[in-house]
């Protein structure tokens, strides 16, 4: 992300952004000079503090709620992968598989840090590994013992993440935070695409990088009944009132129509899924 272009974006939707950050334009220009020199590693923190400065206590409650909701999901994903890499080092095969999970874990950590920074004092209580039950009460009892089960849960998490972010987009409409959320959202989609390929290479023959129609037209294309809620309505072919199957006389099949759009999940649907993996006392 280019912080200068982000600020440009904010200015387009919030013409007073510079005044909010600092009443004096000169000070803002100074920040730009620092911003150009700042190391990439420090960028998320700097960005977070900038947003805090800009909106501070006036950040709309609804926006903070969405960011905290996202933060919860990022904690879930981060701890899921991190535990596998740190505590069960033989679970994920060395080489490309371990490299991919490490890449994904690092992104989830970056998302946690970014969201925490953006929320500042409004950030939710930190979630640690012990707050989660990644077996979902025994449904995935071998999640940290069996590589394929691990990949199944990982795929479900990433597909959930993709759907959760887009469901909250209207709350962030026109807000610079939306751009950041979209940038996280598409990274989750890239993760999902790769995990589906990993799962396909480990027994789920034919599972595509994109969510397809399930057998017989059902919404869940993974064949894992326990994750049905993750794929609710993914067999939809109607978008903004437009039927995509055979649209404008094209040869777009029902399958292609379902694949070409990822559906969103409502907050309640995502909460229900997340709660399966949170221990009592930490549920949403």
């Amino acid at each position: 992300m280019n912080i200068l272009s982000i600020l440009d974006e904010i200015e387009k939707v919030d013409g007073e952004i510079y005044e909010r950050i600092n009443p004096r334009r000169k000070a803002m220009q100074d920040f730009f000079q620092i911003g150009k020199k700042i190391s990439l590693a420090a960028m998320p923190l700097a960005l977070g503090s900038l947003f805090t400065k800009a909106y501070g206590q006036t950040t709309p409650t609804a926006v903070n709620e969405v960011l905290n909701f996202a933060l919860t999901l990022e904690y879930l994903e981060y701890h899921f992968y991190n535990h596998a890499l740190v505590a069960t080092p033989t679970l994920i095969p060395a080489g490309a598989p371990n490299g991919a999970i490490t890449t994904i874990r690092n992104h989830e950590k970056a998302h946690v840090d970014l969201l925490k920074g953006a929320l500042g004092n409004a950030a939710r209580t930190e979630l640690i590994y012990d707050n989660f039950d990644f077996t979902a009460g025994g449904t995935f009892g071998t999640v940290y013992l069996d590589y394929v089960t691990f990949l199944k849960v990982a795929t479900a998490f990433e597909d959930t993440g993709v759907r959760a972010y887009k469901g909250q987009a209207p709350v962030l409409k026109g807000n610079a935070v939306l751009t950041t959320a979209l940038q996280i959202h598409s990274v989750e989609a890239r993760h999902a695409s790769h995990l589906r390929q990993m799962l396909a290479a480990n027994g789920a023959t034919g599972l595509k990088p994109w969510i397809s129609l399930g057998t017989g037209g059902v919404s869940n294309d993974t064949g894992i009944a326990a994750v049905d809620p993750v794929y609710a309505r993914e067999n939809t072919t109607l978008q903004a009132g437009v039927e995509i199957t055979g649209i404008n006389g094209t040869a777009v099949t029902k399958t292609a129509a379902a694949e070409s759009f990822d559906e969103f999940l409502t907050k309640a649907e995502v909460v229900a899924i997340a709660n399966l993996f949170l221990k009592p006392g930490f549920r949403l």
């Binding site: 990274v187 903004a240 759009f261």
Partner: protein
């Protein structure tokens, strides 16, 4: 020209259209179509969506229709590319790669037609593409171009989302961009397994690896990057 609108069923006939396009090109050269001429003609036939008259087009970002037309333009480009690949894939492609390029082709056609339908009479005309920089018989060249299109598509949607004011369009755009990101990840893995989300390689498109953030670019930057593939002059106003 490659008037894809009139080839609803993708078939080998698509490639025949290229001959017509060459005639168009010759005509444009004959008229010495400079930017001024193109702009004048464009102004004169803005409402006329007859393909033979679409010498130039204008994206007016004053409202959601401008953003949707911007997406429509990019989806036209992507669809045209995948139709060409799917109809005659490089010999080096595996069966799985051929199948998935077919899939992606129909996803992009679905996106293109979705925007066309939503826009109705406000839709821009058909763009004339220029894929002369791509070697369609070479698997590596095709994959490299696909990567460019998909990563740029992700950057475009991520950068333009904040401009949308209508919930339904914002949600639709969000539902499309993640599919583009899935494409991008898959194509990248075909080139180099594990590069599905190599954000360091996407910094020129606005990604921030340290923040775990994907590409995001404003429309002017996206169109500048895409211009090598588009012959039609695109004017941008009210950005």
């Amino acid at each position: 020209m490659e008037n894809l609108k009139e080839n609803h069923k993708t078939s080998p006939k698509e490639t025949d259209i290229l001959d017509a396009r060459l005639q168009r090109r010759a005509f444009l050269q004959y008229t010495g179509a400079g930017a001024a001429v193109v702009a004048l003609v464009a102004a004169g036939c803005k409402k006329d969506r007859s393909p033979s008259m679409s010498f130039g087009t204008t994206l007016d970002f004053k409202d959601d229709f401008g953003v949707l037309n911007y997406a429509y333009a990019l989806e036209q480009l992507e669809a045209a590319f995948y139709i060409k690949v799917a109809s005659n894939p490089p010999a080096s492609f595996t069966a799985a790669q051929k199948n998935y390029f077919q899939d992606v082709q129909f996803h992009e056609i679905a996106h293109r037609e979705f925007f066309k339908k939503v826009l109705g009479t406000a839709a821009i005309g058909s763009l004339e593409v220029d894929f002369s920089s791509i070697n369609f018989t070479d698997g590596a060249s095709v994959l490299a171009a696909a990567k460019t299109f998909e990563d740029l598509g992700v950057a475009a949607y991520n950068g333009a989302g904040v401009r949308l004011r209508t919930d339904a369009y914002l949600v639709a755009a969000g539902q499309i961009v993640s599919v583009e990101a899935r494409h991008a990840a898959w194509v990248r893995d075909q080139i180099s397994n594990g590069s599905f989300a190599d954000l360091n390689s996407l910094t020129s498109l606005g990604a921030n690896a340290a923040g775990g953030l994907d590409a995001a670019l404003t429309p002017d930057k996206v169109l500048a990057a895409a211009s090598v593939y588009i012959k039609t002059k695109i004017n941008v106003i009210n950005l």
